[in-house]
Symmetry: C3
Subunit: 396 residues, 3 copies
């Protein structure tokens, strides 16, 4: 029993013995300087780069955003193709809801009074025909406008084309106005309301900043220099900030990104969390390496004639789609990233002595002296016993 | 040759020599305890905080989500402004597709029978005029309703205003009903179907959980306590969970977020991956520091009169936009984050002896004894040769 | 004074002293091999797994994307329910704008000529009645079609139901065609234009790759083998790639995801940044554990009769909603993740000697010899003074 207790006690004792490496102090200014300098470099890297520049001590969270938009303005058109017409928001904004993506109509090809019937195909979309044998009943040319009835009809006095079953009269979309119909759209304004949340940090922000009051909001207009916090944007300004020309873009349409960058540093000593607006054209305007440049789509308004027949006005709408894109990450001090980054850096601090030792034993002129005193070779048992090298573990 | 081979062999030999630090055992219970305690702290931090709380051993992936929504319910309105009218989904939900953002109409200002024509401006939007000189032809007041024709007309028997070219009759949007027209909308229900994917882990989930059967789905209604898994929500409940009052919000409209949190722990021993619903009003309802509070937009239904003239019914729609916002990250055991976090932690473990050494040689009462035996000062060459300090590297 | 200066100088001196552990070289091939092998394993892990496979040296950024879509094709329907009708894009795509989510109509239940009036309830939605006592005025059955007027009317010659106030005639949605009405929609094509940005790296890409020219774009069609870079997709192909049958899915509708994976390695030696398309059905088609399978919604076209009454055509639209989902992360060499990963790995390298020492002193047959020479026990003061163990720190 007493033997067991004793062995257990000695085991416990040795568990709490502290084992520390024996060290050799080398009073060399050169090596000391190199050592301290290397340590300094690592510390500087940790403090300067990881902490200050890269904010390696922060946890990050990604954004949740909601956007509402409201366009204002009206226009008046008076062209030879159409009757004089007044346009307001309900006419030119689609969809009307004011989501984060909205379309402002700037140009169009209107084909009013279409009904389900038969009419000769457009000559530019199809080959001309001579008689009915050139047309195949039921055939639908993918590049054509409808399903062939098998008849060859006069399109004009000079050209005969195959008759098709379709919405007639057919749309002639080469009749696109050279100058945008709603050129006045450049003076429309859009109010963008954006609320964001960083769920992990429970942070909510709006793009209407706390110091802005309602009366300012009613008259202000965004300007990068004088009014950078105003959430009301003139369409022309948006597009010129994106490096484009409104009138040019309005003819064939395009997609324009309104980018709101909410990169936030939520630590109390930083506390910066403001939206930064930028604007960029998102579609490719160059005709090379492209297909269907610009932005357009077709929609129809359906009517019923007094005798119950359905008729529609087909509109090929050209215009600018504005996509409000909200992005950003928030960073806030977190214990895990701090520990991970510091730990990784300390690991380099632990590497420094190994490098200095290697340098000292390889490059120093006194390397033999150093190595003789630092490094001991194992002495075989017989010799060891006779060496007066202090009390060894075994004999304790 | 034999000399080269020998040097090569010795080089190879020394490459496989194992160099280990010589250590001094200090049988002090105090220092030993401090040392073990410090090690314990680091290990506890690694196991407890990094692994258990922060799940530092996990890789993460972000979510891909798809949502379909379907509103049900009908209402009947009978006010002095409008004919009695029955409302179903096709009338009050916009857009009809059932995307992740849908709008439920609750109040409105309807202006039927508008046609492109001329009418006197509203007195509240513009200054009164006395005669035609006060009106400028072609001028369009940004706060007005159309383009001035240059005439001054009688708006009423008491007021004269400038005539404008516009959709007439003009909308009088101050006539907004004080009580929401579709007050019955609070009893509408919405079915939300949400499928998510974590592409990196190839995990697919639905908000209709596997244990839910079709018959339950047909009659259930979400309730945080009794039916937390039912994907059918009563609009009134959504809004009261967000801390708002439906009837109050319905008058001027607003934006309401239905947040679905899919934070998932995909490790087999956890296997938790359920949606958590929460609700939050996303727009700012307070009139201070705000502009255009509530949520409204204008849209029009276009008609043609029997004689072919276009007429429209303009609707200024007030209502609640519901944004279904799906977010979350999935975590799953990954070897790289585990190694990185453990490595960083071990780096702290390696720091413990350095700290204990420093404490021992600075604060301990027997520090001179310890330092004398732990630390050796370099002995200059002359002296070193004469010391009987065991076989040194150089003489081997 | 001179004493102070001296102590300061000695303090400074000792600050630049270099303290290095004394080591014992053990010329054992076995231990040396194990040591080098363990080091090799750690290095292999760092190089092979962290760097090559997991790209632990990279910073990552998440994607910003914009999508435009354009559907092409037309169809002709000739069923007993409806007049022969020609369908083009403006008729079957909703919403028309070409956003990242678009719906293609494939089947429908049309209820033309609805007006606000009274009609007997459908027998399948409600109980039959015998006389007016069975109907309650003002009651609205949630499963019914309108608000009861309190009368019991003949629905047919054999059945009497309660009269309701609603849009009449009521929709009979059990009359859904067994075969999709717009079966021809399988041959429609969709052009998807997708531009992405990685804001942190200022990288912009399009899914129309630089080597593709406009003439190819006009005639190509996506095929995973022969044309993997063509951005024009045939609807039938999309759906068969998702493992579904178009005609089957077209009857009741569904949601189909077009997933574009833009995972990019932006390092110059990799430079891979191409879109990878995949397709997956996102809704649950199985009727078990489901509610309202398929995808449908109701919308109405509003008309006015010559005498000014509002009438509408209600359409319950079944079809396929295509959701273009763009995801991916970009990685690029970054100094912080490199340092963190290398640091964590080096921390393991520092662990290797500790493990080898433990093995050597526990398992080796010569462990007593090793421990005797490696480990020194602290010698109590009295003894220490008399030991000729070289110049100690204290006596310097």
């Amino acid at each position: 029993m007493s033997k067991n207790a004793g062995s257990c006690q000695s085991c416990l004792h040795s568990w709490f013995d502290y084992e520390t490496p024996k060290t050799l102090v080398i009073p060399s200014l050169g090596i000391g300087c190199v050592f301290r300098f290397a340590q300094l470099l690592v510390v500087l890297y940790v403090v300067g780069y990881v902490c200050v520049l890269q904010k390696g001590y922060q946890e990050t969270d990604s954004i949740i955003s909601t956007v509402t938009t409201k366009v204002k303005g009206y226009a008046f058109t008076n062209t030879s193709d159409m009757d004089p017409r007044f346009w307001d928001v309900a006419d030119y904004v689609m969809p009307p809801q004011g989501d984060n993506s909205f379309f402002v109509l700037t140009n169009m090809v209107v084909t009013p009074g279409q009904i389900q019937s038969r009419c000769p195909e457009l000559p530019n979309l199809s080959k001309l025909c001579v008689d009915d044998c050139d047309c195949m009943e039921g055939y639908s040319d993918p590049r054509g406008s409808g399903i062939q009835t098998g008849l060859c009809e006069n399109y004009s006095t000079t050209a005969k084309t195959c008759e098709v079953l379709s919405w007639c009269p057919l749309e002639i979309d080469t009749r696109l106005p050279k100058h945008a119909l709603l050129a006045a759209a450049e003076n429309f304004t859009v109010l963008i309301k954006n609320s964001i949340t960083y769920p992990k940090f429970n942070v909510h922000r709006r793009n209407i900043l706390p110091h802005i009051n309602s009366s300012y909001l009613k008259r202000c207009e965004f300007n990068r220099v004088t009014d950078p916090d105003c959430p009301i944007f003139r369409l022309k300004d948006i597009i010129s900030e994106a490096g484009e020309d409104f009138q040019d873009m309005a003819v064939k349409g395009g997609v324009l990104g309104i980018l709101i960058d909410w990169s936030c540093d939520l630590d109390w000593w930083a506390g910066k969390c403001y939206p930064k607006y930028s604007f960029r054209r998102l579609d490719n305007k160059h005709p090379v390496n492209n297909v269907a440049p610009g932005y357009n789509f077709r929609f129809a308004k359906y009517y019923k004639t007094p005798d119950g027949e359905e008729t529609r006005t087909l509109i090929k709408a050209f215009g600018i789609r504005f996509d409000v894109i909200v992005f950003g990450t928030a960073g806030k001090f977190g214990i895990v990233p701090t520990i991970v980054n510091l730990g990784a850096a300390f690991s380099f601090l632990g590497l420094v002595p190994a490098v200095i030792d290697w340098l000292m034993l390889t490059c120093s002129s006194r390397r033999h002296l150093y190595s003789r005193q630092k490094v001991t070779y194992l002495i075989e048992d017989g010799e060891a016993e006779s060496t007066p090298m202090g009390t060894s573990y075994g004999t304790q």
